[in-house]
């Protein structure tokens, strides 16, 4: 496997796919799933498809695997997303934009 150190491109590419975002959401809800458990979460994909997407997520550092006994568990690693947030979002965040988003959320009854 290619060792990916600090590669923002890999994170953005990994996040650009809806199936991979779905897998991350599932891991956020229930961290540490095995391959079989993850397959059950996305029945529309083949085992090969799930493995392929997991590999992309792992290379981007968004998923970390750990072996416990016979089982390999998949964990959501939120650090690369935090680094992107600090680099690309926090820096450019402006108060007016935040206030408008809050207003929209209120009007749409999200809070």
């Amino acid at each position: 496997m290619v060792l990916c150190v600090d590669d923002e491109d890999l994170v953005f590419k990994a996040l650009a796919d809806p199936t991979r975002r779905l897998l991350l959401d599932r891991l956020f809800e229930r961290d540490g799933m095995s391959l079989i458990e993850l397959e059950a979460e996305v029945p529309q994909l083949t085992r090969f498809g799930v493995m392929k997407h997991l590999r992309v997520l792992e290379e981007a550092g968004l998923v970390v695997t750990r072996k416990q006994g016979r089982h390999k568990h998949h964990y959501l690693n939120s650090v690369p997303i935090r680094l992107i947030y600090e680099r690309w979002i926090d820096k450019y965040r402006d108060r007016r934009a935040a206030a408008l988003l809050e207003l929209r959320d209120q009007l749409e009854g999200r809070r």
Binding site: L3, V5, G32, V64, R66, Q68, S78
Partner: protein, 154 residues
Amino acid sequence: MTPAPHAATATQVYQLYIRASQEEVWDAITNPAIVAKFFHSAQVESTYEVGCKLRTLSPDGSDIWGDNTILECDPPRRLVHTWRSLYDQEQAAEPESRVTWEIEAQPGGFAKLTLVHDRLDASPKTAASVRGWSYILSNLKTVMETGEALPPIR
């Protein structure tokens, strides 16, 4: 949908690469002067010997944030200690959990740091709170690579 009980769910894993040597990362996580820079300006007291205390205090020393115990210490590779969040009453009432820091040397002048926070099965409030490790660890990376801390979390 309520997630089914799941042993591995009680485990959180955080991993990042830092442009530093294994020894430098070890020093950063065990040197109180550096820990303060990336961990909420906390005061840390420990001799980092197995069985000894790892005490974390608020910046002015008036509040105890953590009164934990060193379980394993293998410089510059592995540090394991207990965790109980004393800064929050509800979390402090939950069972003790465990934090493991693993540092691996990597080619190209990088170190890989993996933090595993586990034994959170019966500590849901603590589990939700320590999701903030990603902020702490990205702060550590910034401190080590640029010498500066990030602005405080909002």
